[in-house]
């Protein structure tokens, strides 16, 4: 591993043939010594980059493909990946930004509580599961391409935006079971969504003005990060998917003795 100090707070790390534990040790050491900008080159599947890293002023550029669970439990930093990313990006992330210039794998944004996760390309299965909002925190996941099955399953809060750009003709924007078990949060889909694919707990309607305003703000940031034409993105109307109830399973259970319910 070669670590080069570029300037006072910037370092460049060559990750070729480096074991993930050593790479993460190196990253943690650099951050502990005051590095604010880390450029990591030749990344090739090393896992857990940025795991539990803290600090809003830390920036990590990743060249190459990072491994699973990048930014897991992360709390503040910004990671930009100039290639594809693998599974579990932003798992249980608390705060910070992750920008992926390519595709990302399965279960990205699991239980994410805050921060932004932007993926320019497609994402795999079970993405955005159990995302939640908390106080002033609202996690935002924007996918430029399409998503696999079970997008937003068990979603409890936060915002998922699915743009479905650069699709092959006839290719659906999302897989089946979209929003199954959703009991909080909102999913916005650019264009139409096939109601057949949507979980039965989920309602579909048009976003209202306030939501459009919020969407436009987020999308202009998304366009800025990836140098896209913002007007193209918003030229198509969106639909909104929302949970019909915050208590999907309430009536299904009963106390052991009937009379405990006051029956």
């Amino acid at each position: 591993m070669k670590t080069v100090k570029l300037e006072e707070t910037a370092v460049e790390i060559d990750a070729s043939s480096v074991y993930y534990r050593d790479l993460n040790d190196e990253i943690n050491m650099a951050v502990n010594e005051g590095a604010k900008h880390l450029i990591i080159r030749n990344v090739n599947g090393q896992r857990y980059i940025g795991a539990g890293l803290q600090g809003d002023d830390i920036r990590i550029d990743i060249h190459g493909v990072p491994g699973n669970d990048m930014a897991v439990f992360m709390d503040g930093p910004t990671i930009e990946v100039f290639d594809n990313a693998q599974d579990g990006v932003g798992n249980t992330m608390n705060a910070g930004n992750v920008y992926v210039h390519g595709h990302a794998g399965d279960v990205c944004g699991y239980g994410m509580r805050g921060g932004r996760l932007y993926v320019l390309g497609d994402v795999g299965y079970r993405v955005g599961i159990h995302m939640k909002a908390y106080k002033e925190k609202t996690p935002i996941l924007i996918v430029g391409g399409t998503a696999g099955h079970f997008l937003g399953e068990y979603m409890a809060g936060g915002i998922i935006v699915l743009l479905g750009m650069e699709r092959r003709p006839g290719q659906p924007v999302a897989g089946d079971y979209l929003g199954t078990g959703m009991h909080g949060g909102t999913i916005f889909v650019r264009g139409e969504v096939d109601s057949r694919r949507v979980g039965k707990e989920v309602g579909i309607e048009k976003p209202d003005d306030a939501e459009y305003k919020m969407l436009k703000k987020e999308l202009s940031e998304f366009a800025g990060v990836f140098h896209l034409n913002y007007d193209d993105i918003v030229s198509v109307p969106f639909v909104k998917l929302y949970p019909k109830t915050h208590r999907p399973y309430g009536p299904l259970y009963n106390a052991r003795w009937y009379w405990q319910r006051g029956g």
């Binding site: 534990r21 993460n24 943690n28 896992r47 857990y48 795991a51 539990g52 803290q54 699973n68 669970d69 897991v72 439990f73 992360m74 709390d75 599974d87 579990g88 798992n91 249980t92 608390n94 279960v107 699991y110 239980g111 509580r113 079970r126 599961i129 159990h130 939640k132 909002a133 908390y134 106080k135 079970f150 399953e153 068990y154 409890a156 809060g157 078990g181 009991h183 909080g184 915050h246 208590r247 999907p248 399973y249 309430g250 009536p251 299904l252 259970y253 009963n254 106390a255 052991r256 003795w257 009937y258 009379w259 405990q260 006051g262 029956g263």
Partner: protein, 508 residues
């Protein structure tokens, strides 16, 4: 048409009131959280709605003149050997509601308890027994991965240093810990009581999956934080401050079933601790959706290890199910430092009755199977085993350690220590003993000063008894009992059952 459905009038308890003794203090009206007691001012009479009584005995315990007795309703349907009373009542309830029956606490069915068919050894003549009151006796236990061998290096000046990097360990002064019970399922007073008792006892308590409340930060060095499928309250700081992290895959009372704290129980304080909006349902999906294989589990274990910089042991908790030995072997290989096996008699705040009563296997059998399997594979040292779910006494602790566990967790026993009467209605959130409720009026009934003392006493009593039993066996350290099945004999078990437990029948 009848004014109410006929089945409702059958009920399990009667509140028997001795009106000569009753002084009309109205304490019972105040104490009953199930609206089963009321006062009629006009008649100056206390009345009970027997059909609302859950048999928690709170009023009976608090009555200053001993005027109350909660007795089983003598009017029962014909004692059918196949159609037990609870099955009949369940059928009635479901015919009326069409819903899933939820209950609390653990499996109450009369399955064989192997603990009650195991006997301990003692020394006679040929080797001396030990008196723990006068001779050293050690219960200290270390949980975590143990190395196969250690390498030493000689530093300058002839100092010997350890070259092998040891895995992180938890040091327990007694092999009894407090099991995972989340803030939400129980209230903070009870959680704080366990935390305080754990600190005093030199052992550990567990947050459960509901996050770590700031009031409990002072006890966090003795705290194990749980990471369950809902990831409630799980953050970098949460993982970093605790003594260890526990990935909850399953729970003995409801293997394969997730958790669900209904929105109306999610008050602002619980919401803050779980890091979710107040009033929203807290749903823990049945599986972790990022774990579909041993490799995926390894990924989460190492995500936590990376986040905590390999300084904390990672526990993985599973329910005892049929294939538990093979699963435990996978978990050991996935890098867990400690495996927790929760037997099918483990308790719960709420579980479908059908699941609670019929899924899983007993912890004694599971521990014996897991220990044997890991030893056969030569990896027993790589992981510690914690047994939980159905451990009721110091003798059970000794027996399960002899069957291969390193330590145990208690939960139901801890609730008994603070008043629980096993009424099995924790799911209602109305616990009159103030344990499994977050109603502030009821939660006040658990005073951490008193409750922590009760918990301390229980574990202290058990620990002393364990020392007595070890002494009788001529063993001066709990370490030497671990997996030592020769000190056990079975009585009244079939040959096959004894074989599975790895013990000889009494007399052999």
């Amino acid at each position: 048409m009848l004014f109410k459905k006929p089945q409702i009038q059958y009920y399990p308890y009667i509140v028997q009131r001795d009106d000569y003794r009753c002084v009309r203090c109205l304490g019972c009206v105040e104490q009953c959280s199930y609206d089963a007691t009321f006062y009629d001012e006009e008649l100056d009479m206390l009345w009970n709605k027997h059909e609302a009584c859950v048999g928690c005995k709170r009023c009976e315990a608090m009555c200053p003149t001993d005027a109350l007795k909660i007795i089983p309703n003598p009017s029962r349907p014909y004692e059918h050997q196949s159609w037990k009373w609870d099955l009949v009542m369940d059928a009635y309830l479901q015919a009326n509601t069409g819903s899933i029956i939820i209950t609390g606490i653990g499996n109450d069915k009369p399955y064989r308890v192997s603990f009650d068919h195991l006997l301990l050894d003692a020394c006679q003549v040929t080797n001396p027994s030990i008196d723990p009151l006068r001779e050293p006796m050690e219960l200290r236990t270390f949980l975590g991965r143990k190395v196969q061998k250690i390498e030493l290096a000689e530093a300058e000046g002839g100092n010997i240093t350890l070259k092998t990097r040891l895995a992180p360990q938890l040091q327990l002064e007694t092999p009894i810990m407090f099991s995972a019970m989340s803030y939400g399922a129980i209230n903070l007073n009870f959680q704080e009581s366990m935390a305080r008792a754990a600190v005093r006892l030199g052992t550990y308590w567990n947050t459960g999956e509901g996050g770590l409340h700031k009031r409990l930060y002072p006890y966090v060095n003795s705290g194990i934080v749980q990471v369950a499928s809902g990831r409630f309250g799980v953050s970098r700081d949460y993982l970093k401050v605790a003594a260890a992290a526990e990935i909850k895959i399953g729970q003995g009372a409801k293997p394969g079933i997730g958790g669900h704290l209904p929105g109306e129980k999610v008050n602002p304080d619980i919401a803050e601790t779980r890091m979710i909006p107040p009033g929203s349902d807290a749903i823990s999906p049945a599986p972790h959706h990022d774990i579909y294989s041993i490799e995926d589990l390894r990924q989460l274990i190492y995500a936590i290890k990376e986040t905590t910089r390999y300084e904390k042991p990672v526990f993985v908790k599973i329910a005892a199910v049929h294939n538990v030995a093979a699963i435990a072997s996978g978990i050991a290989r996935a890098g867990a430092d400690v495996i927790v096996i929760d037997g099918f008699r483990g308790g719960t705040g709420a579980a479908p009755k059908s699941v609670r009563d019929h899924i899983g296997i007993p912890v004694e059998v599971a521990i014996a199977a897991v220990d044997r399997r890991l030893r056969a594979e030569g990896i027993r040292n790589e992981v510690s085993i914690v047994a939980t779910g159905g451990i009721r006494s110091s003798a059970d602790v000794i027996k399960i350690i002899a069957l291969g566990a390193d330590a145990i967790y208690i939960a139901t026993a801890a609730m008994l220590a603070v008043g629980c009467t096993l009424c099995q209605t924790c799911n209602t959130g109305r616990c009159a003993w103030g344990i499994t409720t977050n109603d502030p009026r009821l939660a006040r009934r658990q005073n951490p000063d008193i409750a922590s003392e009760q918990l301390y006493n229980l574990v202290r009593g058990w620990s002393h008894e364990m020392k007595e039993m070890l002494g009788a066996m001529g063993i001066n350290s709990i370490e030497s009992l671990k997996g030592n099945r020769l000190r056990l004999r079975s009585i009244g078990l079939t040959e096959k059952e004894s074989e599975i437990l790895g013990v000889l029948p009494a007399g052999e």
